[in-house]
Symmetry: C2
Subunit: 133 residues, 2 copies
């Protein structure tokens, strides 16, 4: 039911980048320290965020990372999905899941409704609104 530690760290990292002056890079070390994220784990997370085209990576001594696009166009949904894949509150809301009870299951409506609400909230939450100060 709860957000993975990886996604929580990823949200914090993106929040950190969103709080930087435009064009400024931050290194793994800087983000790890500022957001209290274990450095090795963060390195993996930033790689995945870059792979998902949410961050840009710059090599070299003065290298680092920055957001790949405007903070306003990156949402909590994007980050969590990039870390953990499809987001769902209960198994019956997963795209590929086929539940033999889904037809006429009294609970299905409940989970579908909650899922819709949750995804909408995650898609509305962008990093222009949520950023480190």
């Amino acid at each position: 039911m709860r957000l993975s530690r990886k996604s929580d760290y990823a949200l914090r990292a993106v929040m950190h980048f969103a709080g930087l002056p435009k064009g400024k890079l931050a290194s793994i070390g800087e983000v790890a320290k500022a957001q209290s994220i274990p450095r090795e784990f963060l390195a993996k997370i930033l790689k995945d965020l870059t792979w998902a085209e949410l961050l840009l990576s710059f090599q070299g001594v003065t290298g680092g990372y920055r957001l790949a696009k405007d903070a306003k166009s990156i949402t909590f949904f994007d980050v969590i999905e990039a870390m953990d894949g499809q987001i769902y509150l209960n198994l019956c809301c997963e795209d590929k899941h086929e539940c033999s009870h889904s037809k006429g299951c009294p609970m299905r409506d409940f989970w579908t409704k909650e899922q819709d609400h949750y995804l909408k909230s995650l898609k509305k939450a962008n990093f222009a609104k949520y950023k480190s100060k």
Copy 2:
């Protein structure tokens, strides 16, 4: 982020008992078959639901289980909490968790609000409304 399999099965089991005629018992075997839940796992779940005073257990050949109280007064919240303990969407919403970033964390409001919404929904969903037919 997603409901545990144990909680999903527990909800289905309680839904099954809620759908029985008043006072009627159901055996582990009956519930397992009707709800497609592995029997051994269900036995453990029904024990935990009894321990949580949501079910009553009756011994003997004609024994079985039934709801310990009116279906209307048992909620999804009660069942999930009995299975998995405190319900929270992100670690920062856990009672005992102390996050060094919580003061001034831009995300905290988001999670608190989502958490409130989710818990309210779970507390409103009772088994007079959600029951097997």
